[in-house]
């Protein structure tokens, strides 16, 4: 145990009104956070963990202590009740969203229902206080189930368990009437690909960037124009279609004509982007989202923000990750 986490454990025990040695042990040794597919319950929150953000944050605490790892926590409570308060923001890979708030005097269990076959992870002390939930999904049409596939990793911070630390980005989108793009292509192909390449640390200047893009709402269908972008006026018009993302058949203008031999696959401006269908769409969507957050092109190939779309563009710098995780729009 590091010095800092040791300090935290001692601090907890000094707060004797609420804390027993067993709880301190649970805190330092790690406890599990598990989603049970049968009962659809998420369990494994320890009271120690929850106490960092208990419901009486402003009301009942007599003395606050600040720790560099976890921010403030209550050193002395006015009440002896272990007032556990858990709020979890939960997202499914298909965009389902649910906020669960549970308040209890004992172990609170946040229960929720998602079409996820399994979700499990471990959060631990030892200086790294977080929970990772690896989420898999499978489909079972006509009694034939697909193999479970990884759709994302959800990170819960023990330092702030009122919300997941993973940055969840809702993407609203539209397509031109003759442009092919289905919910399934977005949910099972493009978005998981974007999330995976951002999360994976591929070394060489890459960082693990925990972002969960997900489709928000149905794909809107529009018929403005002819499905191709041929000038700035058409681009402005299509950017004005509801949704962050507009998918069209071809882009022949993006602030100017394409350079000979180059195909424009995406054009971003402000909080919007116009895209065409292409290979490596996971890279493309993440790239244009980066532009939405005012990121410029990265001069190095292999990075998501590199100006030429290639399947191997998987890296993001810490600066780029921070910009995407803390969106301006």
């Amino acid at each position: 145990m590091s010095l800092r986490s040791g300090f935290v454990a001692i601090g907890l025990c000094v707060a004797a009104f609420i804390c027993s040695p067993q709880e301190a042990l649970a805190y330092s040794r790690a406890s599990g956070i598990t989603f049970a597919s049968v009962t659809h319950t998420l369990s494994g929150y320890s009271r120690t963990w929850k106490d960092w953000n208990d419901a009486d944050y402003y009301v009942d605490c007599l003395h606050w202590v600040y720790d560099y790892d976890f921010g403030g926590y209550c050193y002395l409570l006015q009440t002896q009740y272990n007032y556990a308060h858990v709020k979890a923001d939960l997202y499914s890979p298909t965009g389902f969203y649910q906020t669960v708030t549970v308040t209890d005097f004992e172990d609170a269990v946040a229960a929720y229902s998602l079409s996820i076959s399994s979700q499990s992870g471990v959060w631990t002390a030892e200086g790294r206080h977080y929970a990772l939930a690896y989420v898999y999904q499978q489909y079972c049409p006509y009694s034939m189930c697909t193999n479970p596939f990884w759709v994302g990793t959800w990170e819960f911070s023990a330092g702030d368990n009122t919300q997941a630390t993973q940055s969840v980005i809702s993407l609203t989108m539209s397509r031109y009437s003759t442009t092919s793009l289905s919910d399934a292509e977005v949910d099972l192909g493009i978005v998981p690909s974007s999330n995976e390449l951002l999360l994976t640390n591929d070394s060489g200047g890459d960082v693990s960037c925990s972002i969960a893009f997900h489709r928000s709402g149905s794909i809107n269908v529009f018929s403005d124009g002819d499905g191709t972008i041929d000038d700035s006026s058409e681009l402005t018009t299509i950017m004005g279609v509801p949704g962050r993302i507009e998918v069209v058949n071809a882009i022949n203008w993006c602030g100017g004509p394409p350079a000979p031999g180059n195909t424009i696959t995406g054009c971003a401006s402000g909080a919007g982007m116009v895209l065409r269908r292409w290979s490596s769409e996971g890279v493309l969507w993440a790239h244009e989202y980066g532009h939405n957050q005012s990121l410029s092109h990265n001069a190095n190939s292999g990075f998501v923000m590199y100006g030429t779309l290639q399947p191997g563009n998987r890296r993001v710098t810490q600066f780029e990750c921070d910009a995407m995780r803390n969106p301006l729009n």
Binding site: D230, S233, P260, T308
Partner: protein, 264 residues
């Protein structure tokens, strides 16, 4: 708007094994097959000279090079060797044997037709100029028996208009006076065969006539550099605004922490 944010799709394809004896041929092959391709017209135009033309024409006629056809066509236009005119026209009019074009084949059509405009700019070639001017009438592409349609179109009638649009782009890129006249005629007094095509092109014609004028005044490289500079300036304005917003947020965060120093 941040038009700097353009993403250019260049597909990396594994190198073939077709070993050719001449270094030049190898260099040209490598150039069009490389993971990246010049995004600057000036760089592209200076990358190769007319000696590469025969090899590029061979590549354009090789079905094995389909993934690179659009680059080959662009390079033929940028080099500016008149031998490329017939090759590009033949490529567009070559039987395809399929109703639907692959994405790379369709991109190559667009690139071949617009490259004729680059060739007109470089050489003033009359055949290429006439091919493009005639191409502003969609039904001409049927007379030329151009085969295949884009996968996002449903009929030749619909796709022919796209081909006519590519001719429009090519004429604008040529910067040629007759090309400008043809575009203005389409804009102001379209023929019967052009009227339906013309109906949705108000803003497009204005924009590409501006391109035509820029090419006429500054040359092709100057035109592309003009738009590059515009995009860069807009990008910088947007970045400045983003930095201002981020600084504001940081300031607000510091204020919150100052008001509640012990809170999580």
């Amino acid at each position: 708007m941040n038009w700097q944010s353009v993403t250019l799709a260049l597909v990396a394809v594994a190198f073939g094994t077709d070993a050719r004896p001449q270094q030049l041929e190898r260099d040209v092959q490598d150039f069009v097959r490389a993971p990246t391709f010049p995004t600057s017209y000036r760089e592209l135009a200076n990358s190769n000279d007319a000696a590469a033309t025969p090899q590029l024409i061979d590549l354009l006629n090789s079905s094995a090079e389909e993934a690179h056809w659009s680059r080959v066509a662009a390079l033929l236009g940028a080099i500016g060797d008149e031998r490329a005119v017939d090759a590009l026209i033949a490529f567009v009019e070559k039987p395809v044997g399929a109703e639907r074009l692959s994405s790379s084949h369709e991109d190559a059509y667009r690139e071949s037709i617009t490259s004729l405009g680059l060739l007109v700019n470089r050489t003033g070639n009359g055949k290429a100029l006439k091919y493009l001017i005639d191409g502003l009438t969609p039904s001409v592409w049927r007379q030329r028996r151009v085969e295949g349609i884009a996968d996002w179109t449903t009929s030749y009638e619909e796709y022919d208009k796209e081909l006519s649009k590519y001719a429009l782009f090519g004429l604008a890129l040529s910067g040629h006076p007759e090309a400008g006249q043809a575009l203005r005629s389409l804009q102001q007094s379209p023929t019967l065969g052009q009227q339906q095509f013309r109906s949705g092109l108000d803003s497009t014609l204005v924009q590409w006539l501006e391109v035509h004028q820029l090419v006429a005044e500054r040359g092709l490289a100057g035109m592309y550099e003009y738009y590059d500079a515009e995009r860069l300036a807009e990008d910088e304005r947007e970045l400045e605004e983003a930095n201002r917003l981020r600084a504001e947020r940081a300031q607000q965060q510091r204020l919150r922490e100052a008001q509640n120093p012990l809170g999580p």
